[in-house]
Every structure is written in structure tokens, then in C-alpha cells.
Symmetry: C2
Subunit: 390 residues, 2 copies
């Protein structure tokens, strides 16, 4: 449960930014934005003035929102006639998250609040959410430890001859039994993810997903993740799963092999480990996101693996790490174009990976907290490739 | 795989509507809209002129889009400088689905195509998608039969003393093994769904979801569906699951009881069956959506169950059926305010349900095709409550 103190601290951090940018109030309509500030994910909108108390207006369920949220002012959603009267006319510049809010929603509120100017505060909200409180770090450590405990069981159920799908389903089953909430929130338009990926030979595929590894998926309608392909011996098997507990997301990848691994893949794995360690050491407040990516790409290049770093040649993802929290794709992004400094207590999944045509996919992923001592792992779990007998 | 003929037929139906409304072209950016017309779900946009051939512009993965789609013109996504030159200046009125497209996307394309007028074609696209072809009906029957075959296994794993979560996970495991694709597409802003619901005592809860039954869920971040509550004897256990195979969605609810059922709940169940049969008989082309809902609500009222029809008192959903296809919330909607006629080969999940405080949740759901003979079920599976020994 979100405490009143923590809710107020989050609201206050946003209010400072609103004031700095001369935005008079935020009108939040995306469920996860509202959850972050209020602790309840109901069908509602949240009004946060630059000065003053937030107001939560609830379509459904009002009773549940009141039970769950420490916000003082929680009221039923007003009719379209009453809507404008709820908000004082002194608020002219209204912030909204244009990255995720559909045009129809924007139009509805623009008409309901005629004469106001709506401005995009997507990056502002994402910046606030990127820095985690001690409570959030505790939640994230819990998610990571739950996720790791299920990864530890993989040798019990991974067998040659099973389909990638069967492997994924065994993982999903155990994650859910442990309390995984299932639905994975992503902010980016056009992205969809179900649990994660279990890919072997099927890993070397193009795909829509903005990540290094795609997988073949089950059909053209679901072209991502595990496929019906049968897992063979002497292949790299990449398992990349997201753990969602109490809304908080940890992200983790480990490699498994039944039998022996091609030496070229082993070498690529060792490079991935080296890149992860370089990034980890550099993950201090003030480090520039873009520079971490460029340093990682340069290490891949020097190892002769530049063309297959972070994706198959020609379809490479342009990042090596992404923020996680209540969404899988939070700030910061360790990517080209992000010439911004890291902040203390941001949480980042670092995932150097290689996709080598004709050989397979390989890499590592752990979630780290940005601190003065560099990145600190959310959970301890060996990075080593797990070799099973064929 | 989508055939070229079927792709062309779908495009042609949209082109007729565009022409009728004087919209010169559709610019589709929502993945499922694009998948419907092209048969590929990659990161892309689709241009469909009112006259002429569609053009698919692909960010990622171009190779996969070409492999999967029968569309003739598939090209790499143009740079922002080149963008305008791809589209002839004769196209002024451009249609976009404002219901689902974020403001930032709309802004990007408005700037890239300056001087054009963007108009909302959400309802047009949804109408095209609502009428199913023989190929689509076959896909939906397949999804419904797979879903029913897993429902048939419930008596093997449902036990008193297990958590609602455990029951849901056993269902999810079997659905996935059968090829369920996991991710459930919904069009409405603000909605999220993971597989479905297994609810017993926890069913009588408020919630954000726009459906009759909510469930307690696992946390305030995930306040929907199965909870950690333990399943008891002599309680109604409602299982409402979505089957997604090759992208196509069937929806189904059945009731289970370990031991005996409260006579009031049995009576409410019988009313739900009567309502379903009334709606089924009326599901002919030309029938008015709203009238079907009003007739259903009236039957509930006459049975003295008006205040708990389609939700707990005060939080009742205002529909009795919803279209399904590539999304869970397609047209038509059997709801107040939808004074439009049914069309042949629309596919509708009909779900009369009651939420009775202090007693529990109960109801039925099947997916039907609209025909001249009334609704025809996608799959045969007994509606009866399954009683298990305590």
C-alpha cells in the first residue's frame, strides 16, 4: 500500500517540475501514471495543480479507489456539463502525457476545459517515475528475488525435445504461482509483451519488438517469443523474463545449454559479461546515458561482434539498457540520443546480447540500481551459462 | 495466413466507406488495424487510399512483413524528410483512428503531412472489422473449440482449499499448452486483461474493468481477476476466460460449485440462461443492439434481479454482449446508446451475469455468430453448472 507520506512526496516532486515549466496543473488519464501518485488503479483521472492538493475523479470503482488510496480528495467523475466547474479558471496551462493518451481523450478534455492550453508533460512524468524511493527499491528487490527463484528451477523442467512454447509455459506457471501479476505494462505505442521469451533456434528472427531478441512466436498475429520449434541439444537457449509483483517489474535473462556450446557463442557470451560489468561500474549519478551505450557498442565492435550486437544484422536495437519500475520501458534509456545524466536511484535493466545468424542468440540481463558506487544488483544470481546433460 | 484475395476484399470494404465519407485515404498506425488488412503485425504504418493500392511502410521487421503479408507494396519506413513525398498531394482528407492513436503519433504525422486534414475513422475501421468472413469464422470456431476443450478439464484440477490464483494458473497453463497466444488485445483506453477471471467469494468487488465481474486481483496494482482467497465449498465459482489463437478471440464463462449452491443463485443462473436464449433468438441481421440490451435488462428486472444485473449494485456494466474478433472489444455492443442494427456474420460474446452481494457472482457466456436464424454458437459445450463433490 502506498503511504500518504510517499504519495505526497511523489506529488511534490511533480509540482516542482510543473512550476519550473510554468505548467499550472497536470491532468493525468493514463492508469499507471495515476497509480504512481495515488496507489489505486481504477478507471479515473487525476488532477495535480502546481500548488495545492491533488483531486482524483473516479468513473469506476469509486469505493475501491477510496479503500486503496491515501489521496484526501476522491470524488465521482463529473458529468460533462459539470466538468469545467470542478477546475478553477486560474489554471490555463494544463499538462497531459501526449505519448500515451489517445487523440479522442485529448479532444474530450480540451472541449470540457475550453480556453485552456494543453501541453505535453510525458517526459516530466517519466522523469519523476524514473527515480525510485526506498519503498520502491524494496518492491523491486522483491520482484527480482521472486523472478530469480523461478529461474533457479529451470534445470528441473528444461528438456531436449520440448517445444519452446512448453519451456515458456513451465516458466510462466511457476512465476504465476509465485504471485506474478501477469499483465506487463509498457508505455511505448506499438509494443506488446507476454511474460518474456524462451528462444533457441527460433531466436534468429526479425520482429516488431524493440529489443535485441525477438523469437518466432506462435503465429503472424503473435510474432514474438516462444514458438512451436523443438529445443535441440547443443543450442543456446535464451530465457528473458519479466517479473511483475505489486506492479513492480524486474527483468532478467539467463542462458541454458543442453550439451555443449559453440565456442564462438561462448566467446560472445564472455563479451556480453564484460560489457555488463563495464556498464555496471559506470552506472553512477552524472554518467551520460548515451556514453554508456557507445562504450558498450565499442566493446562489441572491438570484439568483432559489432554487426550482431543487440539484434540481428540490419535490425539491431539501439540501446543496451532501459529503466524499469511500474512500466518495463521507463527512463533512463542507455541509448544513442539520450545525452542526459543518470540520477541516483534510477533502476536499469542492462542487457548486452548478440544475435549471430546461423548460430543463435546469447547474452545476459540483470536489473541494477544507480548509486555512487556504480550499479548494485537487485538480486544475486549467478550469471553463468547453465549446462545440462544431453 | 491471410490470402491476397481476402486482404483485397477487406481493403475494398474500407475503400467503399472512405469514398462514402469523402475521406481520401486512411493512415493506419495501430498494430491490429494494420494486421487486419495486411496479415502482418510488425512495427509499421499502412496507407490505404480510397482509390488505389495500399502501401505498407515498415520500421521493423521489413523482412518479416514481406514474408507474411500478401500486400504488393511493402517498403522501408521513410525518413521524416522524405515522408511527405511518398504521398501524392491530391490526398487532403486523411483518416486516422483517434480512439487508439496517441496524441504524439497524430502530431508527428500531421507535421510530416502538412496541409492535410486528419479526421477520425475509428468507427469506420471498427465497423469493417466487425463483420467476419468465412475464413475468420473458421478461425473463431477454432479458438472457441480450443477454449471449450480446456474448460472441459476444469473438474480435473478444481479443488476446495486452492487459491483462486491456483485455479486460474491451472487454466492458463492448459490454454497456453494448447497454443493460446497470451496477449489479449483490447481497443478501449484504460482497460487491461490477463487471460480472464477465476472468482469465488472475491467476485463481489468493485473494479475498473468494464465488465460485470471484477474479482479482487492480487494487489492494488493488479486489481482484477483471481486473488489469493481460498476457494470454499458451497460457493459459486465463476470462470470467464478468453481464448486467443492465431489472433482470434473467443470468450466463454462457466460456473462450478464444490458441494451445493444457494437456491437464490441457482435461480439467478436460470434467469441468465433465459436471457441468453432470448438474445440468441433475436440475434438476426437488422435487430437493434440497444433493444437487445433493454430486453435483457427488463427480464432481469422482472425476475427481481435488476439491481445486480451485469455488476454489483451501483457499479453495473451497461451492456449484455460485445463483439469479438482480433480484439476483445469489437463492435457491435449490445448496450444502451447503440441504436444500430446487427449485421450478418458479426460475432458477439453474450454474457448475462449477476453479482449478488453476500452471495457471489453467477452467469453464463458464449460467443455467437449473427445469422438469419438467430445466433449460432461458435462451439457446443454444455451451459450447465458443473457440480463437484466437496
Amino acid at each position: 500500500m502506498l503511504t500518504q507520506t510517499e504519495s505526497q512526496q511523489r506529488v511534490f516532486r511533480l509540482q516542482e517540475m510543473l512550476t519550473n515549466k510554468d505548467v499550472h496543473a497536470a491532468l493525468l488519464v493514463l492508469p499507471i501514471d495515476i497509480y504512481y501518485f495515488t496507489g489505486t488503479r481504477q478507471n479515473a483521472i487525476l488532477w495535480i495543480p502546481a500548488n495545492g492538493q491533488p483531486l482524483l475523479l473516479v468513473r469506476k470503482s469509486l469505493s475501491r479507489a477510496k479503500e486503496e488510496s491515501p489521496i484526501a480528495a476522491i470524488r465521482p467523475f463529473p458529468s460533462s456539463k459539470e466538468f469545467a466547474s470542478v477546475f478553477s479558471e486560474e489554471y490555463i496551462n494544463i499538462g497531459m502525457t501526449f505519448d500515451a493518451v489517445p487523440v479522442q481523450q485529448h479532444t474530450y478534455y480540451s472541449r470540457a476545459l475550453q480556453g485552456r492550453t494543453f501541453v505535453d508533460i510525458s517526459m516530466m512524468i517519466r522523469e519523476v517515475m524514473s527515480v525510485k524511493s526506498p519503498f520502491e527499491l524494496e518492491q523491486l528487490r522483491y520482484s527480482a528475488s521472486k523472478l530469480a527463484s523461478v529461474f533457479a528451477e529451470v534445470p528441473q523442467f528444461l528438456k531436449a525435445g520440448m517445444r519452446e512454447l512448453d519451456l515458456s509455459v513451465e516458466m510462466e506457471y511457476r512465476l504465476r504461482k509465485a504471485g506474478h501479476e501477469g499483465y506487463i505494462r509498457m508505455r511505448a505505442f506499438n509494443q506488446e509483451l507476454f511474460f518474456g521469451l524462451a528462444v533457441s533456434s527460433g531466436g534468429v528472427n526479425g520482429g516488431f519488438f524493440d529489443g535485441p531478441v525477438t523469437g518466432k512466436g506462435l503465429s503472424s498475429a503473435s510474432p514474438h517469443g516462444a514458438s512451436y520449434d523443438v529445443i535441440q541439444v547443443n543450442q543456446p537457449i535464451l530465457m528473458d523474463y519479466v517479473g511483475v509483483f505489486n506492479g513492480y517489474i524486474a527483468d532478467m535473462t539467463r542462458m541454458f545449454v543442453i550439451g555443449a556450446l559453440d565456442p564462438e557463442l561462448q566467446r560472445a557470451f564472455d563479451v556480453a559479461i564484460d560489457i555488463q560489468e563495464m556498464v555496471r561500474q559506470a552506472m553512477k549519478p552524472g554518467a551520460i546515458c548515451e556514453e554508456l551505450f557507445l562504450a558498450a557498442a565499442s566493446m562489441a565492435e572491438q570484439a568483432g561482434l559489432g554487426s550482431c550486437f543487440m539484434g540481428m544484422p540490419g535490425e539491431q536495437a539501439k540501446f543496451v539498457g532501459h529503466g524499469v519500475g511500474l512500466e518495463l520501458d521507463q527512463l533512463p534509456v542507455l541509448a544513442k540520443g539520450f545525452a542526459v545524466p543518470l540520477l541516483a536511484n534510477q533502476v536499469i535493466a542492462v542487457e548486452p546480447k548478440f544475435v549471430i545468424p546461423g548460430k543463435g542468440v546469447i547474452g545476459i540481463e540483470n536489473t541494477f540500481v544507480v548509486t555512487d558506487e556504480g550499479g548494485i544488483r537487485l538480486s544475486d544470481f549467478s550469471d553463468e551459462i547453465v549446462f545440462l546433460e544431453g
